[in-house]
Amino acid sequence: MLLNILVGFAIAFFGFVLQTSVAGVNRKIIARLQKRYGPKWYQEFLDIFKLLSKRATSHGWIFDFGVIMALGGIIATAMFMPLTNNIVAFAGYDNFFIFVYLIAVGMLGMAMSASGSGNPYASIGVMRALTTMLAYEVPFMIIVLTIINTTGFSSLTEIGLFQQASGNTWFLIALPLGGIVGILSLMGMLGKKPFETYIAPAEIASGPMVEYGGKQLGMLFIMHEITVFIEVSLFVHLFLGGAENIFIFLAKYFAVYTFVNLISNVNGRLKIDQVVKFYYKWPLIMAITQAIIAIYFGWVVSI
């Protein structure tokens, strides 16, 4: 059991390193897209370690406790995440719902800490983050319901293996409407434009993060990187057929994150009620259509 925990921690740490590097490379890609030179690929590491080295301000024990709870919850979630079919810390327990709900502990910790700072901008940001979550989660869960219902497993490795066993029929292709919903929901989860309403630096001064500086902000950055790792890996395992080995995982991971990032960089920002209306219109309709087609009629695209 101790070994498993160490493996899990290694996965969480690997996720942090991976996502931080990928994010740095993506900053470079976006810079090239905008005809700029762009920062160093390890810029994100510099940012995080700089923040950790600064002397922060604290607004009382709940402010600190929330940050610890947020980072702890996210590390715990990442520890369950399978990387490939074989590299998984707790085989058999990488249940989909653990990711969705254990991530929520981290989110709750962050929301609590942000509200505990007493800044109204932070509360507005938290409100918007929770509202966005209410928006993107329902269509996403319907698609995941379809996937679990089709495969009969809720374990991520099993879902990945199922897709590999059926001749690499990824659910992105097998459930085409569902794949689109998955990408849209992933953008909402990652807080990418046009759904980055809850960060909105020019409008509500970066929302929940408004009062953080120094080590608390650094820890929240680490938390954010691991969260992105979890969400993108979820997508890889659910829709892209998991990974047989670590290189396939890296390739898929990089492709998904870069694709989403590229889309987001040509978009503006929606208002929060527009976000809710958007997700409860087309993605939800598509998700329900896909679910009815796949579950009740059994029509799944196969190559």
Partner: protein, 192 residues
């Protein structure tokens, strides 16, 4: 000949360990400078070219930030009226340490074209410590970039010590602020 015998490694004192850590921290700090831009003056117009594809500030690891808590640099672009000086001081005190101040243009240096105005202060470093000035009315973008590189070198050479000076000579700064502003923090019907 040197002794090959195992010598006890010299025990580093706490100050030395701290200094080592501080140097490592300085490496990160100078490569990732986040700015809070106080753009009340005309010099702010030089920042868009500095940030976008013409000069691309991001390749130095610099970027704009939303709040003083997250920022490392307080960038004062242009003249400061008495009213905005209060806010600048308040903002500066909210920033997390270490923190640096960069003054753009001639107004923070000596008042510039507003040197005889009743509403504009003349010399910013009387009220908060300034690490780098970029002269010019307005300074062109190259000099703005040059100013930032200067600041990085100062951080490397450990001469960017404005925030320590502010802590050590706090009384002197407070006295100057009081002389120019009366009170820094005001409490009236618009500030309840």
């Amino acid at each position: 000949m040197k002794s090959t015998k195992f010598t006890e490694p010299r025990k580093l004192s706490k100050e030395e360990v701290d200094r080592k850590w501080w140097e490592i921290g300085d490496f990160f700090r100078r490569n990732s400078l986040w700015m809070l831009m106080y753009c009340t003056g005309c010099c702010a117009i030089e920042l868009p070219p500095a940030m976008t594809s013409a000069y691309d500030m991001e390749r130095l690891g610099m970027g704009p930030m939303a709040t003083p808590r997250q920022a490392d640099i307080l960038l004062i672009s242009g003249y400061l009226s008495v009213k905005s000086l209060r806010r600048v001081i308040y903002t500066y005190e909210q920033m997390s340490e270490p923190k640096y101040v960069v003054g753009l243009g001639s107004c923070p240096i000596n008042g510039g074209i507003y040197h005889d105005s009743h509403a504009v202060i003349n010399q910013l470093d009387q009220y908060i410590p300034v690490d780098t000035y970029v002269a010019g009315c307005m300074p062109n973008t190259e000099s703005v970039m040059n100013g930032f590189v200067d600041l990085m070198e100062q951080i490397r050479d450990k001469t960017a010590k404005g925030w320590i000076k502010y802590k050590e000579n706090n009384e002197w700064y407070k006295k100057n602020q009081k002389a120019a502003l009366g009170e820094v923090i005001i409490h009236d019907e618009f500030h309840e």
